[in-house]
């Protein structure tokens, strides 16, 4: 269940409390997020929508441990990440977060197999174990036959599937998707969204997704809107419980 009122259950997978993020540009402070609360349960699929500059990607970066808030806390599976040191946060990301980016962000000099294997290089798995994990991840995204292809030899949709395989290969706690279909045609985008839904429905993954595309957002279980740094759900201002409230 998604809540944006700060009254979520103690067992929520992700708990965001009083989150502020302020950027300084010249002499001006820009408040990107203001007192934001959010509770996401395991297995939820949440889409964040909103106009450019509304703070969607900033929120994603904060929840993914890529950035630190000005105020407030973020807890994931009981770990409070907002006060972790840089090194600990990096280690935490490796274990808990799978990133899917708009531009796929594959390493062009590595094959699909090698790209997917990257997160596993940080584990203590043997070479054979890594191979097994990579093969499973690539088969889930339907690219088991393309593991020796380089990104330049794949279509945009296939590249994004490889990126998804990379995101899930280490079995992270949740997936963060930043405009995962933003660079794809409709058909490829539909394929990618089908895949993400399968990860949620069949594999129990928790997915938080930023998108501009209402059609894509409709695929999520819940859509939250960010407007001027404040979260609203289905047109209701923050403070109203989502999901049956």
């Amino acid at each position: 269940m998604i809540r944006v009122d700060g009254n979520g259950a103690a067992g929520s997978l992700i708990q965001v409390r009083g989150l502020d993020k302020t950027y300084r540009r010249g002499n001006e402070d820009i408040d990107v997020l203001q007192g934001l609360n959010l509770d996401v349960d395991r297995g939820d699929f949440v889409a964040f929508m909103g106009p450019s500059g509304s703070g969607k990607t900033t929120l994603l970066n904060l929840m993914g441990g890529l950035d630190v808030p000005t105020r407030g806390t973020i807890s994931v599976a009981g770990d409070e990440i907002t006060h972790m040191s840089g090194g600990k946060l990096t280690d935490w990301r490796a274990r808990h977060v799978g990133f899917i980016f708009q531009m796929y962000n594959l390493i062009p000099v590595l094959t699909a197999f090698q790209n997917v294997e990257l997160p596993l290089l940080l584990t203590k798995l043997s070479k054979a174990e890594r191979r097994k994990h990579v093969e499973v991840a690539l088969s889930i995204v339907g690219l088991g036959e393309r593991m020796d292809h380089y990104p330049r030899q794949l279509s945009g949709g296939q590249e994004q599937r490889v990126a998804i395989a990379r995101a899930i290969v280490a079995d992270p706690t949740f997936l963060l998707c930043d405009e995962p279909t933003g660079d794809l045609d409709r058909k490829s985008a539909d394929g990618v969204m089908e895949l993400i839904k399968r990860l949620v429905n069949e594999h129990g993954k928790t997915v938080l997704m930023v998108t501009h595309d209402p059609v894509v957002a409709l695929q999520a279980n819940t859509t939250l809107h960010l407007d001027k740094g404040v979260l609203v759900e289905a047109g209701v201002r923050q403070g109203v419980a989502a999901g049956g409230a």
């Binding site: 950035d67 990096t90 990301r93 490796a94 990133f99 390493i107 000099v109 590595l110 990257l118 997160p119």
Partner: protein
Amino acid sequence: MKFSRLIFANLFRKKIRLVLTIGSFAVALFLFALLGVVNDAFSRGADVVSANRLVTINRTSIINTIPLSYRDEILRIPGVKYVTHNNWFGGVYQDPKNFFPQFVIDPENQRQVFSELIVPDDQWDTFLKDRQGAIVGAATMKRFGWKIGDRIPITTTIYGLAGKPFEFNIDGVYHGEKPEDDETQFWFQWEYFKESVSDAVKGQVGWYVIRIANPDDAPRIAKTIDNMYLNSPSETKTETESAFQQGWVKQFGNIKLLIMSIGTVVFFTLLLVTGNTMAISVRERTGELGVLKAIGFPNRAILGFILGESMVIALAGCIGLLLALIAIPLLGRALAGLLPPLFVTPKTMVYGVIAALMVGFASGILPAYGAMRLNVVNALRRV
């Protein structure tokens, strides 16, 4: 090891740039080896000299001779074991470009003084009995394809002997104890030389080489010799063989400083070129480094990747040292006799590898540190 694939994959993303960068290292290291070899060649005299040898020359200059009569007087000085005398012959074999040093020697004492240049006893015995005999260094034998028993004509333009060929029988070959020992010399008998030159030359030698019992006595014996002939028509200058060799090298200028200056400039330029290449390489993949950091690669891994790349380039550049191993002996052969023997020593190779790794580290560390300090969010925006 599991990260090595990432390092090599990144290295090969711009193949031409990789080849050119490795090429820069290779050329610099080849030059390093060449300069090292030349420096060794010029300073080797000081390295291979015996601590218990002195050299006495005419105080005016080495091209002025000194009387043969000094030999017995020097021999009587306490602490002196053997004295041999040499003359520069300056001969030509077939063509002036076939240069190699020929010395008129004192056959009774040469072997005792230069004990590190080894001649088999039977060959030496043959030489002693043969007025026209010659003992030749192994390198010169090999260079001209000579064999023991060959008869060799050599002409000289000095001592008033121009146009008169000297005929020599090769009776033996000497080998140095160490690789750096000079194996290019040609020795022949004082008696054979003496019978052909004018009376004025007969009683004169080029220089004396003196073997002493105790190196600690060198200053005393040198002073004694020079004092003996003070105010005589042929005053002497006696010094240790090491000082003599160093003085010889100084005639060419400060070779070591020159070589070090060139080497420093070459490596500093290499550092700038490689550092710039690494900086460009990092800047080009800022977004990718951001992705690696986002998915959990720690800062030290990012630092290691970039430094690993620059170190691999540096090590690959050591191919320049291998090329030097092949090319320098060929060059040495082409310059045989003009310079002391040229060969790449293990020390030069080790220093070359160390220099390469140091430049590799220095050129990679700043870009690597910059990559390590990248802000993930900013880096991801550059994709």
